[in-house]
């Protein structure tokens, strides 16, 4: 059953990714991109990484996809103009894909059988975050707070 699910999700994700790369209308491409994110989240669920999958949906659909869509909306100029096929983009994509493939096949961990690990609960992740990774966590918190304050200052009305 897992294999069937894997193939179905893979087909959906790849089709959505292809659509995102080739659809002429920018908004359609952005929405297909969101479907790709859902597919990736489904892979995480399939692997038993529930938390990562949920965060994937949360961050990428709830925030990144909405951000992309808004960016397109606010900067929309010539969405009807067909710019032709972007061969440069294809070259870069193939290069990145090749690089990733090369890196993945070079790792040794592929040949080792996966050790039986207990299912990762949200509680365990929380404990690790608050003990071993507390400094990175605080740094990210600081960064996000700075971003929030920066956004506020950008939109603040100028007092005269």
């Amino acid at each position: 059953m897992n294999n069937v699910a894997f193939i179905l999700i893979a087909i959906l994700t790849l089709a959505a990714a292809l659509a995102a790369a080739s659809l002429p209308k920018l908004i359609h491409a952005a929405l297909s991109f969101a479907v790709t994110f859902i597919g990736i989240a489904a892979f995480f669920f399939l692997l038993g990484a529930e938390f990562v999958g949920l965060v994937q949906i949360f961050v990428y659909i709830g925030a990144v996809a909405v951000l992309i869509v808004f960016t397109i909306l606010l900067t929309r100029r010539d969405d009807e103009k067909d710019r032709g096929f972007n061969w440069g983009g294809v070259a870069i994509a193939v290069a990145v894909f090749g690089g990733l493939l090369w890196a993945i096949f070079k790792t040794q961990s592929l040949s080792i059988a996966a050790p039986q690990i207990e299912t990762l609960t949200v509680k365990r992740i929380g404990e690790v975050l608050m003990t071993g990774f507390v400094w990175p966590l605080q740094c990210i918190g600081l960064l996000l707070t700075a971003a929030l304050i920066g956004a506020l200052i950008l939109v603040m009305e100028e007092k005269r």
């Binding site: 908004i27 359609h28 969101a34 909405v66 929380g126």
Partner: protein
């Protein structure tokens, strides 16, 4: 044990249904079990939707000193059937310049996400349709997809009212999602679990033998519940906060270009979203399916859940009948300047409550934290204009 039998009757029915598949392979049983859950959820909540659509109009009518629907069936109770038939046979109009696919997909996506969110709420003892470890996270992850659906509706319609409505809806939803999530944080911290079942289990029992240990009876819980309820009101686009579809300003917001069954789907999604957010509020703060008094525990757990749900829904309708619509900028200011700091205060108050031993001293300390933040905020946000004495001029 007739009480226990009644309490678990739906579980038994499900087991009985599954016993027909005794010899089948595992995955068949798994899928059948999920399907039973899904059908039960849809059956219960679509019936509830039909009931609330007529009850809301009846209650609104009562509060506004008029009759409400009373033509179809006894007391107008068959009104939902008439409405359903009307919606189904209405012409489905799609604007000529609309983006057909996006326009078509938006109501489907919005209804699907609303229904998905219902899946993780515990409706009774052993009655969580899909008990996953990060249930609370699932709820919000699915809920955040709604924004994309609203955007699709607004953009796909190719209408400026739709787009304006969608922009308002998204701005409002993103702003209030923050206090909504932050107010669930104290509960998650105190229970130290993201699973709705664990949260309900933590609210079992009675303090001093008669006060139920629901989180709403702690200062931080009460404050967080009120904030959660208001944010929920905004997330489900109900009146005081229905700016996205303010009829008097922008026709019907992102639903302007929808008619017939697609409009009904939006309408349904809105109500289902309301059920889901109320259900989560009950789970987090109102003790889930626990009875308020020990003597009443003989009444089945799901009956308590739905009693609480009905009460909350009545309050929703009550508020709709009472309050006028807020202005866009007021809604946003309220979110960022009041709701968010108060939500963070709840987190701190919950921590104080925990470290002061969860007893009476903790109760007082957390009340102190909430009170200090509340009064500081109300002084800082005081926008009352200092009026000078009014002078009148009359024609001579």
């Amino acid at each position: 044990m007739s009480g226990d039998f009644l309490d678990q009757i739906f579980i038994r029915v499900k087991q009985w249904l599954l016993s027909w598949l005794a010899g089948a392979p595992d995955w068949v049983i798994q899928i059948a079990s999920s399907l039973i859950n899904i059908l039960a959820l849809l059956g219960v909540f679509l019936t509830l939707f039909a009931a609330i659509s007529v009850l809301e109009r009846k209650i609104l009518g009562r509060m506004q000193n008029r009759y409400g629907p009373n033509r179809v069936g006894p007391f107008g109770l068959f009104q939902p059937i008439a409405d359903g038939i009307k919606m189904l046979i209405k012409e489905d109009i799609v604007p000529a310049r609309a983006d057909k696919i996006v326009h078509f997909l938006a109501p489907i996506l919005i209804a699907a996400t609303a229904i998905l969110a219902l899946g993780v709420i515990p409706y009774g003892r052993n009655m969580t349709p899909f008990a996953i470890d990060g249930g609370i996270l699932f709820f919000f992850a699915v809920g955040s997809t709604t924004e994309l659906a609203v955007f699709m509706a607004g953009w796909g319609s190719n209408n400026k009212f739709s787009m304006l409505g969608a922009m308002r809806a998204i701005a409002q939803m993103i702003s209030y999602e923050l206090p909504l999530i932050v107010t669930t944080l104290p509960v998650v911290m105190v229970v130290s679990s993201l699973s709705p079942d664990a949260i309900v289990a933590a609210q079992d029992g009675y303090a001093f033998g008669f006060v139920p240990r629901w989180f709403v009876f702690t200062p931080w819980g009460a404050a967080a519940f009120i904030l959660f309820f208001v944010s929920g009101l905004v997330e489900s686009n109900r009146t005081p906060f229905d700016v996205p579809e303010g009829e008097s300003e922008i026709v019907a917001g992102h639903m302007t270009e929808y008619s017939g069954f697609k409009y009904a789907t939006f309408f349904m999604a809105e109500y289902i979203g309301m059920f889901a957010i109320s259900g989560l509020g009950i789970t987090l703060f109102l003790g889930g399916w626990h009875a308020p008094i020990r003597a009443l525990e003989v009444i089945p757990s799901y009956a308590w859940f739905f009693a609480k749900l009905s009460t909350l829904l009545f309050v929703y309708i009550w508020i709709r009948a009472t309050l006028p619509r807020t202005r866009v900028d007021q809604v946003m200011n309220f979110a960022w300047k009041f709701m968010l700091p108060m939500a963070f205060a709840c987190v701190i108050a919950a921590a104080v409550w925990h470290y002061a031993g969860r007893g009476v001293p903790g109760w007082l300390w957390s009340l102190g934290v909430i009170a200090v933040v509340y009064f500081t905020l109300s002084i800082l946000l005081d926008t009352r204009k200092k009026f000078a004495r009014r002078t009148y001029r009359f024609a001579e």
